[in-house]
């Protein structure tokens, strides 16, 4: 492996995917069965993990213990622009991108490998999985594991009939609230006003989330990257389009 960066033009794929169909995906039976060591080899712990599975009724495969757990998840990460920016900004935080499109996932994976070779010791904290997050998010993360979730320029699914295919719905927010810890933040951004309003409406209605006021949002050091560092974000920039941002905090169940 030369460490040569992959070229995007060889990894193009149409922007839509049906979240309801049976994709052939590789996911763990539960978060405890997930092997993160191949994703973050620099974060594998030296301690032995075998004593952990003593009480389990099904014999579990020994997983290498990790020093850290994934805390940031970029759901529908696309070409991974945000991950690459945040990786060096928070080098000690594990971040995972999830993307359903095969070729796009391959691109990000190859780019991570290349960057790790080019910059030894860096980019060890980011990884990517090809996944349908609308179905299998709880298979990867325990209750309250995540501190930040990103939904950047998601598929608008314009037709009313397809609204359940949107990544922010009443139903799915329950799953996001489950994996996000109290105090954790959901970042949403879209150039489609209609979708932005939809996301705001559903997050506003959800009792486990509260909107973070704009002035507070602007102080968040991550926000500039959320605005500009994704493929879609750059495209909107080029076309001088508008971007609509909304961030929400996970609050306690009343």
């Amino acid at each position: 492996m030369s460490g040569k960066l992959p070229q995007k033009k060889f990894f193009r794929q149409r922007a839509h995917s049906n979240p309801f169909s049976d994709h052939h995906l590789d996911y763990p039976k539960s978060p405890t069965e997930m092997d993160w060591s191949t994703h973050y080899p620099a974060f594998v712990s030296e301690e032995n993990s075998s004593e952990l599975s003593l009480n389990a009724p099904i014999k579990q495969v020994d997983r290498p213990l990790m020093k850290k757990k994934v805390e940031f998840a970029d759901l529908g990460c696309g070409y991974g622009g945000l991950l690459f920016s945040l990786s060096t900004l928070y080098p000690e935080t594990l971040m995972l991108g999830m993307e359903i499109r095969v070729k796009v996932e391959e691109y990000v994976r190859e780019k991570i490998i290349a960057l790790r070779l080019q910059h030894p010791g860096q980019y060890q904290n980011i990884s990517i999985i090809r996944m349908n997050v609308m179905k299998f998010l709880p298979n990867f993360f325990e209750k309250g594991q995540l501190s930040k979730m990103f939904f950047l320029f998601p598929d608008p699914h314009f037709k009313t009939r397809k609204h359940k295919a949107r990544v922010i719905t009443n139903q799915l927010l329950a799953e996001y609230a489950y994996v996000l810890r109290v105090g954790g933040i959901i970042y949403t951004i879209s150039d489609v006003k209609d979708l932005h309003e939809w996301m705001v409406k559903h997050l506003d209605e959800h009792p486990l989330f509260e909107r973070i006021p704009d002035e507070e949002v602007e102080k968040d050091p991550i926000i500039p990257f959320v605005r500009t560092d994704t493929e879609e974000g750059k495209k909107v920039e080029r076309n001088k389009g508008e971007k609509f941002l909304a961030c929400y905090r996970r609050i306690m169940n009343q």
């Binding site: 049976d22 994709h23 052939h24 039976k29 099904i58 499109r101 349908n132 139903q171």
Partner: protein, 444 residues
């Protein structure tokens, strides 16, 4: 050739001697202490040789099988006499019945086909889970239009296959085709308490143990059934049932019984039904196309289920239910595809020492229902739909290769890995959604 439509679903009341037997779009009510048919939504079956018993006919009495009942439940009050029954079917109507006067109380449309229904303990709400993965609640008595009264409690992106409300009504538990069991607060379904992780195939049945209501049994396309402490989502036990039935297939072969058309052809199993009896703390399990009922008993000390015995049948069972005495009622499709003269209901009488005894076909308690139950049809519907929930095990890469060989555009093949045949051509208008959705429902 005429067939008698088998009873696809059995449901016994928690405190009364009352069994509901569902066939197609109709149901009949049986007194399980006397064997008398009490009520029916359709005229009784008769071959004109016997006098038809006098029963209460419940309107509507329209015929037709397009709208088969798929979900039915009683309002079982723990300390009293629930008098409501709710049903829903392919017609996407939710019906509430009064079982004291045997009449239809109300009917309302629901957005999608319902797979499971539950009453809240106080009887004020009906909770439904549908094939689109959503769980709604409805007030029982409503004069307002549906939009104003239904409330979305929670939803899965995957197809929900079963749903139960816990007896204390603190949680609603949902199971889906993508191996998940989700425990959500009730009625605040937006607050997920836990997941029960461990299944590797679709789920089809959830069953809370009535004698230890913190515990849940779950089953589906896996080789095992699982026992959970569902509030923390902790797996207590798995019991291999595939092994159990395979051993019996071998025994049957050795004793020269012809089992060729009844043994599941594939290596995979699918659990159709779980029922339990408080009387002896027994659990009965029905597996698709396996001509027997597995009986498990309960080890209270270890909090484990244990295999006890298999009750053998001459035909494939479809559903089962325990009555208040601990007798087990089993409905089956007869061996030669619904021959008119064969019994539809087999009764296993509870005997001492945990034993069961198959009642003879002229036993008074089963005589009437076998004689006058259900109706005559020309074509039998597909009675075995559980195993259709299984996902295509072909790896997507192989499917992709297959598509490439056939010259199907790659990007389309990635979107719908399971539907290689009907893929839209590149640049063609994607008719995907409606078509796919229909297809999805068909295979449910």
């Amino acid at each position: 050739m005429a067939y008698r439509l088998p009873f696809g679903k059995l449901l016994h009341h928690l405190t009364r001697d009352l069994l509901i037997l569902v066939y197609g779009t109709h149901f009949q009510a049986l007194d399980t202490s006397t064997g008398a048919i009490i009520a029916s939504t359709r005229t009784l079956y008769s071959d004109n040789t016997d006098a038809i018993p006098q029963i209460k006919y419940i309107t509507p009495t329209t015929d037709g099988q397009e709208a088969s009942i798929r979900a039915i439940t009683f309002h079982n009050k723990i300390d009293g006499d629930g008098s409501l029954l709710a049903s829903s079917g392919e017609d996407k109507l939710l019906k509430v019945w009064d079982i004291k006067e045997w009449r239809l109380l109300n009917t309302r449309p629901v957005p999608k086909r319902v797979v499971s229904i539950a009453f809240s303990e106080d009887g004020s709400q009906i909770v439904t889970a549908d094939k689109f993965g959503d769980v709604y609640s409805y007030p029982i008595n409503s004069t307002e239009s549906i939009e104003n009264t239904s409330k979305l409690l929670l939803g899965h992106v995957s197809m929900v296959t079963d749903m139960v409300l816990t007896p204390n009504n603190k949680f609603v538990i949902t199971a889906d085709r993508d191996e998940h069991i989700r425990v959500s607060q009730f009625p605040k379904g937006y607050n997920i308490k836990s997941y029960c992780f461990g299944h590797t195939q679709f789920l089809s049945k959830l069953h809370i143990l009535p004698w230890d209501s913190d515990l849940l049994l779950s089953a589906g396309g896996d080789d095992f059934i699982a026992l959970w402490d569902y509030v923390p989502g902790r797996l207590i036990q798995t019991l291999d049932i595939k092994n159990l039935i395979q051993n019996q297939v071998i025994e049957a072969n050795e004793s020269n019984i012809d089992t060729t058309d009844t043994v599941p052809e594939s290596k995979n199993i699918a659990v159709m039904s779980i029922s339990s009896s408080n009387v002896m703390q027994h659990i009965a399990i029905i597996i698709e196309k396996f001509p027997g009922v597995l009986i498990l008993n309960w080890d209270a000390e270890q909090r484990h289920v244990k295999y006890m015995q298999t009750l053998s049948l001459n035909a494939n069972p479809l559903d089962c239910a325990y009555d208040l005495r601990g007798n087990l009622w089993v409905s089956s499709s007869s061996k030669n595809g619904g021959n008119i003269d064969e019994g539809l209901i087999t009764l296993f009488l509870r005997r001492d020492n945990n034993k069961y005894e198959k009642a003879s076909t002229d036993h008074p308690v089963v005589y009437q229902i076998n004689k006058f139950g259900t109706m005559k049809v020309d074509v039998l519907p597909d009675l075995y739909t559980t195993s259709q929930l299984r996902k295509d095990p072909t790896d997507w890469r192989e499917q992709k290769n297959k598509h490439e060989d056939e010259g199907v555009p790659e990007e389309a093949s990635e979107e719908s890995t399971n539907e290689s045949v009907s893929l839209p051509k590149k640049n063609a208008r994607p008719k995907g959604d409606s078509k796919r959705k229909k297809k999805r429902i068909k295979t449910e």
